[in-house]
């Protein structure tokens, strides 16, 4: 019966080509616009480190004085850590792994002639960074805790930077001039660009930048390298990055299971209580928090308001298209009242008629889905040419591809429900009389 209905649907659709084309076009446009924006939203709220993200946590302390007033426009200083707090959390070793970090853009002066100096983004971090985030090394390795303590003049390059500077990914042992300091390359990492760059602070372009070098935090501090993350102080501050009233560091920890998470949460509260007893913290110790990676990203609101607005706009457009299709299908199905009546008189049940028209709607949806896919690809192509930092991410994956067809067929079958219902309620006798 299914094949027969499919045949009927195709016959009916080819009979009135203009109307069919209009319906396919309408659903294609609606689906294309919606899927473009859904895909953008999907890639922006994706998991940056699949398989690892469920073990990564961001602690948060509240070292602010009681009278501190948060400006509505500035960033929250508590999003970052002061040097003493970050070092205390690292020294406590309560997590499987823990690392403190900050971003920086440094001037690289290539040794070979013909290459102008250029700025490159990278990260100052502590030793656990690589193991905790799963950065893979092509050559060499990261630095040790002893290098951290000894402010070793070492650096890990990304493959991209290594190739740019030396034309090879084997640059271990060579020297690169960062700013006014010579650093020895001890490792080359495979290019690594988690999307979004969850571990950077809010001032970074989290969908665009990738770190091209990594060097010990203590070394960066020693060489007075600039950081490009937000620096917030709430008391007079004379440029000392180790000041207890300046937040600028990010701290991530790796915790294995729920037990460790609960223990770490308690540790943060205990630490805050101890600091409060010492008179450094003024706020209640229960202000200390521990966020999982994904819930941390949720709190950062990485999806710009414009993108969410565009999604609503696209969905509103899809709704207009669907109402349009309901109207057109109604016209189309009711025009065939005579045909329905004959089938009914010959013994077809209402549900047979309903099924027949349902399949016809689904066929339109499928055709609309194909068109919608083409339009969505066009839409994504145009998004990729936008100036925004997330633009290059706008690519469809398999789940979005399947989603396109599911949404298209769902929308068209939904749109076909009312017309099909009206058609199967046609009174056969009345129609047959006029034939």
């Amino acid at each position: 019966m299914f094949g027969y209905y499919l045949d009927l649907a195709l016959r009916s659709l080819t009979r009135s080509k203009v109307l069919t084309a209009l319906m396919v076009l309408a659903i294609g446009l609606g689906i294309g616009a919606s899927m473009t924006m859904i895909t953008v939203l999907h890639v922006m709220s994706g998991d940056p480190l699949p398989g690892r993200s469920n073990q990564l946590y961001y602690p948060q302390l509240d070292p602010l004085p009681l009278k501190y007033q948060q400006s509505a426009y500035g960033p929250d200083p508590r999003l970052n850590f002061t040097w003493p707090d970050a070092m205390a959390l690292l020294a406590a070793h309560r997590a499987e792994r823990q690392a403190a970090m900050a971003g920086g853009a440094l001037l690289v002066r290539p040794a070979q002639t013909g290459l102008r100096p250029f700025y490159v983004d990278g990260r100052y971090a502590t030793t656990d960074f690589f193991a905790m985030f799963g950065v893979t090394f092509l050559r060499g390795q990261g630095w040790s805790g002893a290098d951290d303590d000894g402010r070793a003049r070492v650096v890990v390059l990304s493959e991209k930077l290594s190739r740019k500077l030396f034309g090879t990914n084997d640059s271990v042992g060579r020297t690169v001039r960062f700013g006014d300091a010579d650093l020895r390359v001890i490792g080359v990492s495979a290019d690594w660009q988690p999307q979004p760059m969850f571990y950077a602070d809010a001032s970074a372009k989290v969908f665009d930048d990738a770190d091209q070098f990594f060097l010990p935090l203590s070394t960066a501090l020693d060489l007075k390298f600039d950081t490009n993350s937000n620096q917030s102080s709430w008391s007079s501050f004379e440029g000392d990055m180790k000041s207890p009233v300046l937040t600028w560091l990010q701290v991530w920890v790796q915790l294995k299971d729920a037990g460790q998470v609960a223990a770490y949460r308690q540790f943060l509260i205990d630490y805050s209580a101890q600091q409060k007893a010492l008179g450094r913290f003024e706020r209640p110790p229960t202000q200390a928090r521990l966020y999982g990676l994904m819930s941390w990203l949720d709190r950062q609101n990485l999806v710009p308001a414009d993108v969410r607005l565009q999604l609503w706009l696209a969905l509103g457009f899809l709704l207009v298209c669907m109402i349009n299709i309901v109207a057109l299908l109604l016209a189309k199905f009711l025009r065939r009242s005579g045909e329905v009546s004959v089938r009914r008189a010959l013994g077809a049940r209402r549900r047979d008629i309903f099924l027949q028209f349902g399949i016809e709607s689904a066929v339109i949806g499928l055709a609309g889905g194909v068109l919608g896919l083409v339009i969505a690809q066009l839409g994504l192509w145009s998004v990729r040419h936008r100036p925004d930092d997330y633009a290059h991410l706008a690519q469809m994956d398999v789940s979005m591809l399947i989603g396109t067809f599911v949404l298209a067929v769902l929308a068209s079958v939904l749109a076909g429900l009312l017309p099909a219902w009206r058609a199967c309620r046609v009174a056969p006798a009345l129609q047959l009389k006029t034939l």
Partner: protein, 401 residues
Amino acid sequence: MEIRPILASLRKHRIPAVLIVLEIALACAVLCNAVFMIGQRMADIHWSNAIDEQGISVVTVNGADPKLAASEIPRNLAALRGIAGVTAAAAATSMPLDQNPALSPFVTKPYATTTVNSSVYFIGGDGEKAMGLRLLQGRWFNADEYAGSGFKNFGSTGHVALVTQSDANRLWPGQSALGKTLYTDATGWTVVGVVADVLAEDPKLSGPGGMYSSVFFPLQPDGVMGDYMLRSVPQDRERVVREAVQVLGKLQPGAVVEGTTYAGMRSDYFADANSMVWMLVLVCVVMLAVTAFGIVGLTSFWVQQRRRQIGIRRAVGATRGHILSYFRTENFLLSTAGVLTGMALAFGINLYLMTHYEMSRMPWYYLPGSAIALWLLGQLAVLGPALRAAAVPPVVATRSV
């Protein structure tokens, strides 16, 4: 035109009638809000900015040794002034809309607070000429003030400042700003001049009403100055940028040198808004087209369904004009219902956007504006099917089907 028979016939086709009304309502609601957003973004893109936007080129030098700035900056400026077509050149710390904000709260009393983050500009000698600032009151900085002002802890060690007209009105309403003292914490500067409104470095971060809150300080050659402003006639800009990058590239081999026209810098800032405007325009056009096609499709169906009735009306004396105006009136009634619902919906959507997306209230005239647009669209869409209806010959009435 008698309306009652039309209403009676619509009552018999309730579902299609409701669908058309709904479609027009939704289109109207989305159109209102989309056009409003387009209007807002266009207004942003056209923000005025009292510098010579079409004549300035900016070359940025990053990574030069700050200790050598006192000798290098004058040398670089001398070389830049030698480029053909350059009428003025000066160093500065930042430019309006360069998205590299240096913000500071300025108030009229020591330690007072404000919600406005003013943009701070440090300009070197000739800065006012190279930037094309417009003086409204008072005087420019003199040579002694340029030579005697330094930079420390993100503030000026000098004693004078220029403010914009907006700031002068905001800080000293109803009074002249000249000679008044501008404070950050305990440090004060005397206002020696008022210039026409210059945009902030990044107006998003300026706080409410702070878009034109810009304060200018004089600065001797200093390592914090990374921007070289060059002024020329607009036709020369491209060449001036090219040559300036070459000149500075040679003079500062250890630094990163990048050049752009100021117009390019401005369009970079508005690139997001620009792409959003195009996307909104596209959505509006396509949505109106889809709505129009929907009306055409459904009216055609109605015309076909009523061929007999039309024939009968023609046979008993209705003219083609009567039939034509019947369908047009019918469409007008449906559009009116749709537009009324749509305006209410548009208002509701605007309220929602105001609470969730920092949107401002839509001015009332957007509502009747898009209502008229949809009325016209409806009339245009119905014309084809209505003409076909009018062409139905009276003889149809005598045939059985």
